[in-house]
């Protein structure tokens, strides 16, 4: 579904992402892990079109999206959340979802004016469903800036879903969460997969990654050092070395 081929991003002499190739299959949760500064966030930013790539290609459902503008990537069915929350804090919960709703519906001219002026009842219902999914049913008219941290994280996830994605990129969604919240998130991600959404999960919190993912790729210094099921990754020597530091280097 998503295919990165020999993707590289250099900042001057720093090879933030170096010759990275990986494939995310439809319907799976794919984990991308690695120590701090290993190039995970850069990879997400390359896929979404925030940063121009130095070399390599990105294809999504067979279409080349290597240098696509972010809003084009969203229209193609790619949505993301941010590592540090970026909600529209001066808009309400409902408006945050409403502004994002149905971005993949296309732009049929017959519905265009209506869509932009008021939207239709199906669209409104899908927003209400998402508010319920995020567990924010009684908070719909609250300004996003007034929500608690955990609620903001849930709203960010719901807002990304509102665009109607096929593939969801989650950039450290569990950062700052307690164990109970991580368990809830785990449950939500499984529900999304059941709905037919594919997930690329960039994460530090191992409880989440090891439990929920189908396959994992490990990055270190911008290079992929391992790929496999959670069990294989946990027993991989190169991975343990990257995380714990090798004894002869120390």
């Amino acid at each position: 579904m998503l295919e990165l081929q020999a993707l590289s991003k250099h900042f001057g002499g720093v090879h933030a992402v170096d010759d990275l190739s990986l494939t995310v299959n439809r319907g799976e949760i794919f984990g991308l892990i690695g120590p701090n500064g290993s190039g995970k966030s850069t990879t997400v930013n390359l896929i979404c079109g925030v940063l121009p790539v130095t070399a390599g290609t990105i294809s999504f459902e067979g279409h080349d999206i290597t240098s696509a503008q972010p809003h084009r990537a969203v229209a193609a069915g790619l949505a993301r959340t941010f590592q540090n929350i970026r909600l529209f804090s001066h808009l309400t919960v409902w408006q945050n979802l409403w502004v994002a709703q149905g971005r993949t519906d296309g732009h049929e001219s017959s519905r265009f004016v209506k869509r932009w002026l008021a939207g239709d009842s199906t669209a409104r219902r899908s927003v209400s469903d998402l508010i319920a999914f995020a567990g924010l049913s009684d908070r719909g008219d609250e300004y996003a800036g007034n929500l608690a941290f955990g609620e903001q994280r849930r709203l960010e996830l719901a807002r990304a879903l509102a665009t109607g994605p096929k593939l969801l990129l989650l950039d450290e969604p569990a950062a700052g969460m307690n164990l109970e919240e991580v368990r809830e998130l785990d449950e939500r991600l499984r529900q999304l997969v059941e709905r037919g959404i594919t997930i690329l999960l960039v994460e530090h919190v191992m409880e989440l990654v090891m439990g929920v993912t189908d396959r994992i790729a490990v990055l270190n210094f911008g290079r992929k050092i391992a790929e496999g099921t959670p069990a294989e990754i946990q027993n991989d020597e190169a991975v343990q070395e990257a995380y714990l530091g090798s004894s002869n280097k120390a």
Partner: protein, 298 residues
Amino acid sequence: MVDFVQNTLDGFFIGSSYALLAIGFTLIFGVMRRLNLSYGPSIMLGVFAGTMIYIQLEAGLVFVACATVLGAVLAGIYVERICFWAVGRGAVLASMVSSFAIWMQLEELVTIFFPERTYAFPPLGDFSLEFGPFFIRGAHLVMFLCAAVLTVLLHLLLYKTRFGLALRAVSENPLAAKFMGINTGLVVFSAFALASAIGGVAGFLIASADQQITPLFGLWATFKGLIAMTLGGMGSIPGAIAGGLLLGIIEAQSTWYLGAEYRDLVAYFVLFAFLVFRPGGLFGQRLATQNRLSMQRV
């Protein structure tokens, strides 16, 4: 006392046109966080388009109004493409300086094609109303009504439509807006065209109240809009309205009590007083964070 109330009335009505100019500035500043110094001159170009079809073709008022708005929108789009699209996203100073350069360019262009100092502009509402001791010029009444209707329409657009929601989202966080599938370039472009159209209406109303037009109108409109926006609080539309009305009233009072030659002096004095003692403007508190944001980016 009668004089004071009469001045306040006059100032209020004229101030409604300043409010429109300030709203246009605010829209552009709100979505781009950048100042467009060429805003006034692009309106001036529209007004000259209006005066041209009035003089050359003896067109009616409606056509003159359409030509003015159309001219202002086209000039506004030209400014956006050059100063805010072609000049990169991060280059705040470069866009401001280039908007100054485009200002000079537009002014030169107009003085080449319109070498006389002043040109006639068709009058609007050549009547007047009297309420007891008070007196209202018809042109000013029409000016106020148009400004009020336009403001209500803009409010509906910004707060009741998804386009308005997208515009507010872009204004708050352009990056997140992109990832919600919003074509931010298109939103900025539309905001510019919208601001220019509002400016075009303001230009038409002012020029037809004065019944004449000079190439200095661009400078004048940029100043009035900028001062009114600053008085009200940068980035706030209610602030722009309040700032415009306040500026109109200040000008009317100082013209009456001190004389016309002191009018602008007093207005600048009030501007500096605001910048020193209340830098956020009338509607400043709520926008404290936004102001901090704009400071950071400049």
